[in-house]
Amino acid sequence: MASINLVPNLSFNHFQTSSYLVGVGNLQCRVVFNKSRKKFPSYSCIRCEKKDEVNKDEVNKDEDKKDEQIDYVTVERPPYYSYMDSTSGQLEPASGARASIPEVEFWPEGTVEQVRSARAPVPTGESLGSPSYGSNPGSRRKSYRASGSGSGSGSGSGSGSGSFAEADVELSDPGLPEVMVEPQEDSEEFSSDYVVYQSEFEEKEEEVGYKLDKKLGVPHPFVDPKIKKPIEGTLTSDEMWWNWRKPEKEQWSRWQRRRPDVETVFLKAMAETGQVKLYGEQPTLTETALYRARRHLYKEERLQAEQEKLERIGPLAYYSEWVKAWKRDTSREAIQKHFEETGEDETTQLIEMFSYQTDREYRIMMGTDIRIQRDPLAMRMREDQIKQIWGGDPVYPTVNYIQDPDEVIDYRGPDFHEPTPNMLPFLKEHGKIISREELEKILEKQKTEQVEVTDIDEAMAKAVDIGENDDEEDSDIEVEEVEADEEEDEEKINRNWSVLKTTPQLRKSKSKPKPKKEGPMSLEEAVGDSENLTDFLLDFEDE
């Protein structure tokens, strides 16, 4: 029984002091308020539990306690998530307004100051004085001598009995508001220095018209018609930006000039000779286009006229212009008559006629005689005009590019800052270049080879060569070993064995391409040598 009784006793003892202090009804909240860390005792008692236990216990004791019994039972789960806080040993809400605030030591930096500052009591009390805004320092002190004798002339004023009496009055009645800011005697002198604001409001005028409308919300113009005035200084629509036009003669850069092409240059030249008339210095686009069209049309007309002439007078008569030696009549009747007499048709006669044509006449007829100026204008154009069209010398352009004649041309590339490699050892090292002696050696070998190998089949030799090269590529490092192997056992043939078996000369000649290798093989040899050398040195160091 004692053990069963333990729980309520505990709970009772826990709240005993407070229950003495306060009424039972609001006990729980008081407890919670006082000890915020212990909102819910872990040994929370349930009423039913209590009742059971009460039933077991003697009833009268229960009745005694019943009054003081605290009902802090919660049947439902609390409406928030909670956790067992290890620091407080209590069940704590995990979040929300009921979550306990950690101790001051756990507050983040600066929070202490904020809380302290927020908790500072707001000053209360009514001030008796009014600020003088810097004009009268010290005026709100209790002991301020309102006589103002000091402020004017300073310490020289030997505060007379008058000020003393005044102070005495103050002392006797400290509650008296003694802050009377007296205007200084020379204040009006200074008043001219300050901007004087009109402090009183003027009487409100009765609002009519626009203001009234605006105030009432009656439809009214957006701008007060009294205030409204035409906007000055506006631009005409010609001056607005959307009417901007290209200025007529504003060529501030020579790049804005029309680039001279064939047509413009020709037109200018024609204008100079008086064949055409231009309106300005430079031919306009229209003039150029017109020129181009006319030129085309004139050409077409000419060609058409020629064709018509050819058809009208017949080919013999037409072409006889270029055959001076053809003295016969070339009219159509004569041709018809000749046809009837001899049976030669017109074509035959034309061929006959052309057989009398000299080569000079032929060139003139075909237009290939350079001595005849076919386009006198073009040929008569000055050199600068020609260069405008066709440029100058394409190799050394001097006309179409602006260049300082004294300028040293910089041919450096983008990587000019990198040091120029010393090419000769580089190429030598990589086997791209060999010395003359080596070359001569190789050539000698090749000559002897040619002499010796002449009898060998070309195809066979090539095939063998390929095989050798492959070998070298495969085992580049062990070149010498391979070679030694090959020398030692010639029987060992791993590639092209059928060929080599059938032609034993090839195997003999194998030794000959080997020295031949020395030329192009100098690189590999060098590699092998160096490796051997390093190996040797390494071995030497090891030993």
Binding site: V122, P137, G138, G150, S155, F164, D168, D193
Partner: protein, 493 residues
Amino acid sequence: MASSFPLYQPTPCFFSNTQFKGLRHGCLWRPTYSFASSAQNKVKPVQSSVDAAPFPLLQPPQVEESSSELEPVDPDFYKIGFVRSMRAYGVDFKEGPDGFGVYASKDVEPLRRPRVIMEIPLELMLTISKKLPWMFFPDIIPLGHPIFDIINSTNPETDWDLRLACLLLFAFDCKDNFWQYYGDFLPSADECTSLLLATEEELLELQDPDLASTMRTQQQRALKFWEKNWVKRKLSLFKIHSGAPLKVKRLARDSQRFIWAVGIAQSRCINMQMRMCALTQDANMLIPYADMLNHSFEPNCFFHWRFKDRMLEVLINAGQHIRKGDAMTVDYMSAQKNHMLMQRYGFSSPVNPWDVIKFSGNAQIHLDSFLSVFNISGLPEEYYRNAEVLSNAGDTFVDGAVIAAARTLPTWSDGDLPPIPSTERKAAKALQEECKQMLAEFATTSKQDQKFLDSSPESTRTLDAAIKYRLHRKLLLEKVILALEIYQEQILF
């Protein structure tokens, strides 16, 4: 109020009932320089002329600041700062006849960490960098304002007070500036004890020709500066450009106002190193509320610049026990003699432990004996009375003046060599003689000074300060004579 006796009467207290006065807290000796005593620079402590004190000498015990004479200040004083996020925690601003002071409103147990009692944001201050790129935080001076030319024309090494005065006057003229409101609580020109405002006769009353001449040159300097920048500038510029001088001219109509501002700047300037983000600069600062803290040679508060939110913190020393009603004090200038304090702040103290008396004779007393007689411990730079070892109850004789004596008396000390009593007494007598000679050189005695102070309560503050200065000098000499007397009696054989 009539009964309240604001006068600071330290002398009679010391002599008449030494036992009574003294260590209030039971801890170290105390200069008794708390609020009422006089020290406050700001407060321009000197006894107020207002109260009729017919029998001041008969009420010495009340010299301890009786709460009756302290009134809470105008509530607006704190309110104007509070709305600008200045905060005071656990302290009250009170106003006595000697001026403002800050007092604890509750007990503070000794804490391991300093405890914040005030926070003053940078926005309320007036600061000028000490060195040449003049930087103002907050930057209230608009670009191209003629006051900047005036500030710029000052000598960067010496004229910090003139600059600060210009800035202060300009702040008074700025609309909605905090100092327009705060200025009403600064001591006015006739409340200010700064000797800059003293007349020639008052300077003569100092009975200290060196200090008087120094103050004369300072007055001349301030006056010349004002004339140069206000009077002449006004004349010359008016013809050319009538708008420019007005901004400046209305800052200080008369030289009196400017000199007052210089005095305020001198007595309230706090030199601190403030750090703003990456910028660290030494600045001369006028810090509202913090300048209401009074001086003490043994302060219980100190300043700290909190760069995080640019606030000045006033902190109670760690481990300091504060009782309700205690004055919060800081050390204005550490290790400075009375005349320096007088020159800059306009107050002096009879118990300044750093005061010096110049002895010219050969007589020397044994240092260790003298220290042991008065239970003084520590190194010469930091002597203190070791009250815990042998604290005779009520022994309050040892105060700052005795410490000063220990520092300034010609002494000898040679290892363990013990003093010979007869020669010690002879030396002490010789020193006493010398002190008496020095006392005789003054035109008045301390009693006369005291009597004058008592009899003319309506005299100006600066005159009061001047008379107190010479009084304190004499009190120190008398205290030294007394200490030597006690030394002769109690010297160990």
